[in-house]
Point group: C2
Chain length 460, copies 2
């Protein structure tokens, strides 16, 4: 190619040349804070508590090779070939077993195998969302859902959670108020178990009520459940899908956190008419998911290794969660609060409200440590004082050292503002330094909170 071109930073004249051809949705498109951080934090010297990475280092290489050797002998040509859009039956059988382990029986006919759980979010939006349609989500919500919601130009209304997840009475008030404006949300997006990024779990009474509300009001619920089998304490709770008998529920599952994210295999279970449209949407999007990785999953499940491996992940992550909670107690200031997740991969920490975690991140990166700034989990600029911390993809030693460094940065900021009493610094306080603004730009984080919207109900 004669002209040097760099996708990361297109030149202004080049942008101008093509911008006139862009669809209007590109103006609403956003990068995910996580994805952008991934590029920044891939330097080996950085301790990243920003990722949502499973620890794949404990998967035995000899198992991987043995599984693949068996696929080679039994199914080489099929693994290298196209498959049906809905997925291979052998993969659906593994999915059926994973869902049964959470008490949810499902017919293979009702499953669509997808290219990761992310594709389910995309296909649900494709099937349901016209520009301006309302999606109700939790606050904070999964940062990776935001680019999908934005690219379909949805209007996302976020409902602040408490320690029991989304409060359904607040949801109902919100739905009432939307109804008065003549607006019915197309779906309610929730991660009931060990929410990403909140770390909280929806209580059983709320689950039961949510399912009733969905049926009463004829609104779909997208139940995103990547972590349900990663519970480290307490009793498992039934899925919304099992409580609802499938009606008005779209279930999202994935192998990313219980086996491997590199397979890019997830699935949807949905009412037949919705699933049929999602299947059509998938045909246009990528024809079918990888036969090779579906055969890997099938062989892995055939060998009965999945439950012991899952058990080993639970043990590993439980220990790391405890390390993280211990390190937070040691290194974070007394004014900080954080969630106590019973499972999953994340803790959500909230600092005194005069601190801005996007600014903190810039300083933290100078010390080679990263987290996801809270604003990446909101669409309206809220979350500025919070951060998501991952404990699954990092060793105990890294967690301790990472939290120590973040605590140090926080301590310096608290001291700088002379706010041991917790009072907010005056408007004349030092402005955020230039590199921080650039970082917020790279991260595409909203920088201007809606007036009055910032954590105004004090629920967290």
């Amino acid at each position: 190619m004669s002209s040097p071109r760099h996708p990361q930073r297109p030149a202004a004249h080049e942008l101008e040349r093509y911008a006139g051809l862009f669809a209007s949705r590109t103006r609403a498109m956003k990068s995910s804070a996580m994805r952008d951080l991934m590029a920044i934090t891939e330097r080996p010297e950085v301790i990243s508590l920003a990722g949502g990475l499973p620890d794949t280092s404990t998967f035995p290489a000899e198992s991987f090779a043995a599984i693949m050797a068996k696929v080679a002998v039994d199914n080489c040509a099929a693994a290298l070939q196209y498959g049906p859009t809905e997925g291979l039956l052998i993969a659906k059988d593994a999915i059926r077993r994973v869902m049964a382990a959470e008490g949810t029986e499902v017919d293979p006919e009702d499953i669509l195998v997808t290219t990761g759980g992310q594709q389910v979010i995309d296909l649900v939006c494709k099937t349901l969302i016209d520009p301006g349609d309302v999606i109700v989500a939790e606050a904070p919500t999964y940062p990776g859902a935001i680019p999908a919601f934005c690219s379909y130009q949805a209007d996302v209304v976020q409902i602040e959670m408490d320690a029991d997840g989304m409060p359904i009475d607040v949801l109902e008030e919100t739905l009432d108020s939307l109804e008065r404006e003549g607006r019915r949300p197309k779906f309610i997006y929730t991660i009931p178990n060990f929410q990403n990024p909140g770390g909280v779990t929806m209580s059983l009474p709320r689950r039961k009520r949510l399912v009733e509300v969905a049926a009463e009001r004829e609104i779909l619920v997208l139940e995103d459940n990547p972590y349900g089998l990663l519970r480290y304490e307490g009793e498992p709770l039934p899925t919304l899908m099992s409580l609802a008998g499938g009606e008005y529920i779209i279930y999202l599952g994935t192998f990313s956190k219980i086996l491997s994210a590199g397979l890019r295999l997830g699935w949807a279970v949905a009412p037949a008419p919705v699933l049929a449209k999602m299947n059509m949407g998938k045909q246009g999007a990528d024809l079918c998911s990888s036969s090779l990785t579906q055969h890997f999953v099938a062989q892995y499940f055939a060998e009965g290794r999945w439950e012991p491996y899952l058990q080993s992940l639970r043990q590993l992550y439980r220990g790391r969660r405890d390390t993280l909670l211990g390190a937070l107690a040691e290194h974070f200031p007394a004014e900080a609060t954080w969630t106590q997740p019973q499972g999953g991969l994340f803790v959500w920490a909230t600092l005194p409200e005069y601190l801005d975690t996007t600014d903190l991140l810039a300083r933290a990166l100078q010390r080679n440590v990263a987290f996801v700034p809270g604003r990446g989990a909101y669409l309206d600029g809220r979350g500025a004082a919070s951060m998501r911390l991952n404990f699954s993809g990092v060793s105990d030693a890294e967690i301790r050292e990472g939290v120590r460094r973040i605590g140090e940065v926080i301590g310096e900021q608290v001291e700088l503002f002379g706010t041991l009493t917790g009072s907010r610094p005056a408007a004349a306080a030092p402005a955020a330094p230039a590199p921080d603004a650039e970082l917020a730009d790279v991260l595409q984080l909203p920088r201007t909170p809606r007036p009055g919207a910032q954590r105004s109900d004090g629920r967290r």
Copy 2:
């Protein structure tokens, strides 16, 4: 789940319950004729000339196992982990080598690794197409592109090809006429080499002129090139991307036809501002492509096996193409015509115009043989007398027997209509039998051609 639900045939009351929640795009969504046929033709007794399947049976199982064993030893944890959205550098290096083999130099920075070539089509639409925007495509066009175009509610204008591909003078007239209506197409979609389904190749003068037209009129060209390296005779022609120096060209490549479709790995090369938006679109769609299959590709290329394997595919497919052309000469009626592809996977055959290949397919399936009816390659009901025949995924014996059976069905129809003179049957001719209508429904083929639009310019 308590309620039995079947995605293939949702009950009417169920459809009604959810239809009110669907996005308006779902009304435009279409299944691909190929994809639906895949479900019908997966019975082992069916000889399917309908697929676009590479022959994966010649890929040595011991190579597959050896590649995976090496990935296990060197990169197990990384292969099971998330990767960057733009793709792994090791995969981009393989892509660079594939493109160099067609004389197209490319910077890894300019590549986006995608989940198959299909995802490139989807992301290009996502980046460029608002509902009602015009896409110019060839006639016939790739049946798998149609679901993507439709789900973005594009208005697709198809330009009839001749033996040298899309006639650029007709393209320019079409662009002029659109301009008079105040409409500028967002992109021109072309498969210059061994077009799917047409089997024809765009001549060098037309390539040069197309690149000029795109730059003059500031319209992007989506150059879809899955088969460029599968040439069986004649001299290779330069890619549009190499002729244009990258400007106004989005290049689509894939490993599906030169290595494996089951990997679901393709790529885009595009001007930086366009690639940046496609990257954002991919984040929302599936986060990243499979690390596992990217590692497979990297290891495969590291071992230097790709060129000898490609050479073996060329030999295999050349022979099958010759078998197909020979069988057509033997079994198809004298009034039929077909293309003589110099490469790729497909022959496009056109029967006397009073025959309808959708009806023929129903009869052919009763004899356990399948092809893609021509209407699956048009958006406006044209193509009723044509069919796409694949020769890559079937043995010589199957090709001969399959074509013999199709020829038999055609012969019966020709005889039935008493049209040895080629005259069109009267309106009172027997109606298409019920099962055929059902098939057209399953295939979602348009049944009512626009008046006067059917192959009116006589170019094919």
